[in-house]
Structure formats: C-alpha cells, structure tokens
Amino acid sequence: MKETPLSNCERRFLLRAIEEKKRLDGRQTYDYRNIKISFGTDYGCCVVELGKTRVLGQVSCELVSPKLNRATEGILFFNLELSQMAAPAFEPGRQSDLLVKLNRLLERCLRNSKCIDTESLCVVAGEKVWQIRVDLHLLNHDGNIIDAASIAAIVALCHFRRPDVSVQGDEVTLYTPEERDPVPLSIHHMPICVSFAFFQQGTYLLVDPNEREERVMDGLLVLAMNKHREICTIQSSGGIMLLKEQVLRCSKIAGVKVAEITELIQKALENDQKVRKEGGKFGFAESIANQRITAFKMEKAPIDTSDVEEKAEEIIAEAEPPSEVVSKPVLWTPGTAQIGEGIENSWGDLEDSEKEDEDEGGSDEAIILDSITMDTGVEVSNIGSQDAPIVLSDSEEEEMIILEPDKNPKKIRTKTISAKQEKAPSKKPVKKRKKKRPAN
C-alpha cells in the first residue's frame, strides 16, 4: 500500500508548532520517549519499545569456518527487517532504499566500532569460529527506527549466552546448556545511536523524532556514541546542509542521552538476571501482563499546569458579570413560596399548532366541498369537531380519525356524484395526516 501523503495543513501545523518549541506529545526538544526493554525466555531475545516504535531482537550463534583473510576472528552478521506489520507502506518489494540505509548504519555502528571482541569468538584458528547473527525485526513504526534498533541489538547481544566450548589438542568439545552454563559474549562497550531531526534548513532541531515529525523534517543526523563519550558513527542524511558548530553541539547532547540510556539498559539487564537467578517467572508473558483489557491502565501524561491559575484569573476578570437574576422569595401561604417568575409554558405551543392544523384541514375541505350540499358539509364539520375531544392514545399520531359510514345511504344510491364527493372528504383528512408523519 502506498504511504498516505501528509496533508498540507498538518505539515504546516507541525512546522509551526516546532517553531514555537512545542511537540505534539508534549516533549521538550531534547527529550526521548519512554524506553521499555523486555526480555524473552531464551537468552538473546528482547523487545525494545521506544514510545510506540517496537523492535524485536534475537541473537543466535553457529560454528562455521572463518573468512579467509581473517582466520582468527569470529563473524558478526546483522540483519534488520522492516516487517509489513510495522507500517502499511512497508511492502516486500518497496523498501530497498530505507532498508539499505538502516542496515548499513547498524553494521557500521556495531561492527566497525568493535563493540564485540571477535578474537574471543575463535575456537580453532583457521577452522572453526563462532558466527553470531543478530536479527532485528521492526514490529511497529512510529518514528526513529534506528535508535530503537541499535538499542535492541546491543541489549540482545549483552543478554545472549553462547554454549561453552573447550579445545584439547585437536578435539573440540561443545557443551550443551545442561552440561555447562552458557557463556556471555565479551562486549567492550555499548554504542547507542541518537537521532537528530533538522527542520527549516537547520534552524530547529529535535531529538528522537516520531513518525509525523520524520515526515516533515528536512534531514536527519545520526550519532552513535558509547558512555565513554567515544563517537562510534556519524551519518548525516537527507540533504541538509550542516555547520560544524551544529555537529559539535549535537555530539554534546548525544553524550548526555547515551549516558541515560546506557544506565537504563544496565538496570534492565540486572533485573532480568536477578529474576532468572531467583527462579522467578521471566519472559514476554510476564512483561506484557499490564496490557490486558481487564487491566486497563493509561500512562499518566504530564501536563503543564503552572499558568492555569493566572489564565483562569484573567478569564474571570475579563468576563462580563451575569445579569441580576436573583429575586426575593415571595411567600403566598405557609408552604407555598415563589422565587422569581417562570417563563411561559412552551408546551402550550404544540397544542396550538395541532389545532391550527385541524382548522386548516377543515377549511381546506370546506373550500373543496363548496359544491356539495349542506348535509355533507355538516358531516365534515361534525367529523372535524368530533376529532378534537377524542384522544385515544398518546401515540405519535397527532390525530386519529374514525371513519364513520355515511349517514345518508339514500343519497348514495340516487346521487352518485355526491357520494363520491362524500367519500373524498373522508379520504382527504387521512391523506393530510399521513403527510404529517413522514418519519413513520
């Protein structure tokens, strides 16, 4: 499905809001969305939620023969997939540009920065090494895929345990998890990507853009740093023109953000470790419990109420005071008092309108039946007058007419014309009534 285009007014609204330093979800310009990390039952499986963007990461390992020019190093392979459930625009054939960009960025961030000690993945030099494969799947796209993906990758790698191996001479023994505890990977540092979105030719910048902001941005700058303030990757994209000062400022902001996120990751890993050790329940089933419908819980959204009082006072001061309405109570008799005078009962209008209709009907008939003899005219008026006191039910029908047989049968036999005319008036009121009930 092709991506729905963003309307001009939405674009303008977003840009204007950014000019006034306001974001749609109430964040400040340098604020990240809530990051939530949950682990699965297997080692190396995690889901990272950055606001509504969700990425699933899974690490697996395999013994293979090494690359020819790097005989003593293990192999790292990263693969990010944009699942079709992430956004309707992601179709199997259509994603290539974005996919290549994201994958290359992740590869450079994690492989070239040497966050994992590949030498430690070597089992037998030149023959057997570990190949570590990190698969990332984007489950929901709400902006800033690269940050969420990099966090998921590094968390999954930190969480992963590979089977233990021992080498004795020529023999290589691979132990199953039951025989010996699996061994964690040796990770030197944790590079985390931080995205900066630029607007209005670089005048405004936002950290962690969400999906709407990404649509209106001019360009993106991604900085990957670790907590030791080492920059692992910089990538500018989207055709913006940057100045050196902007890049330096972004690197400072990124340093702060990365420190916070690294702390969060450490805490999540520790928690999971503790739960597993104590034998408690772990895995996705536990962490998703809050989201059942029976346990409906809204996240508290912080609202700025600092100037509410002043605004309220302003409104009260400027508003016109209500007119004097309160009047003194008048005591008619003990037990009966009156305060003020009520307005006229408006229900009376309805009865009047009904009577008016009757009269109209009656008058119409009178006009049509001019030629008819006096008897029939009397009959008609009788019908009309008979209707008023008869109130049979409180149905929606305004009136019910009881059609009575003709009182002068002789006239019907002799004067057919007059008989027809007699019947006509009886029909007419029915028709009129039908008109009044269009809904039925």
Binding site: N112, E230, I234, Q235, M241, L243, K244, V247, G255
Partner: protein, 199 residues
Amino acid sequence: MTPPQTHLIYVIRGSRARALPDRALVNCQYSSATFSTGERKRRPHGDRKSCEMGLQLRQTFEAAILTQLHPRSQIDIYVQVLQADGGTYAACVNAATLAVMDAGIPMRDFVCACSAGFVDGTALADLSHVEEAAGGPQLALALLPASGQIALLEMDARLHEDHLEQVLEAAARAARDVHTLLDRVVRQHVHEASILLGD
C-alpha cells in the same frame, strides 16, 4: 596532499522524462571494478556497500545541484572505480563534481570532499588504503567551500568526542585545498576549450 590514485569514469545524462513535476531526479550508481583493490574481489552489482555509496552520492548531489531548474528530468551519475587506494567516497564526489560541471548542469557551488582520520593524537587528512586498514577512526566529509556547509558527514570507528573538532577541521581544510585545485583545473579547461573554438 598527494593526488589520489583512484581513477573514475563518469557519465552524465540529462533531461529524460521522469516523475517529479517540480524538480529533477538525481540518480547515482557506484560500481567498483574487481581489479581495483589489492586482492581481486568479485563484487556483485547490487550489494549493500555499492547501494549505500550510491545513496550517499545521491544525497550529496541532490543538495548541491539546482534541481528546480530542470523539472521532470533525470540526472544519472555513474561512477566506476578503477583503482582504489583509500578515500573512494571523496574521490567519487570530487570527480562527479567535475563531471556535472562539464555537463553544464547548474550547481550551487563546488562539492569538495576529503577523508580524515586520527592516529596517535594527530588528525590526518586524506587517508590512504594502508591507513584506513589500520582500523582507526575515519571521517568522510563533503563540503560546499564558499558557505562552509557540510553536505555529507560520515564517520566510522571510535573517536573520542573531544577530538571530533580537530578531525572535522582537518577534513574541512583539506576539502578547501581540493576546491582550489578543482577551480584551477576548471578554469584551465574552459580556457583551452575557448581557444580551440577559436574565439
């Protein structure tokens, strides 16, 4: 700065009927010959690195070419690397700038690129293959010299934040040197061409 040993062939084709109604579409393809590096490597045409390089070149030139002046047309830039000795992205950008100018397509400014690195506390500009393979941090920078705006910035491997400014400065200075060189070459070429045309 030693002249780069990366040779390129460039092709520019313009004005084909294409999608965008208000500006030109810039399409870049990067291809590396199998004999370009020290070891013969067979690179399939659509592999990720070539794709990424193509995307980056496209991003650089979309920012520099005045695309508004050529609506509904497509500008294709094909780059073929014959000999690679480090700094391939920078060499590609510089060559493509000359090609676009030669083709007569209007640009905001020259796009000059240079790579830079950081070894033993010193910032180095224009890394060769040996220096790149050593594994230190590498920065590739594409600059519009007149305004000092950075069209593309790309960095790999670990570099401490404090050294970033130094390295950026080295790359920018080298890019400006490239600009003087390119400028001189273009003027000389125009001069020769006008002589040949017999003005």
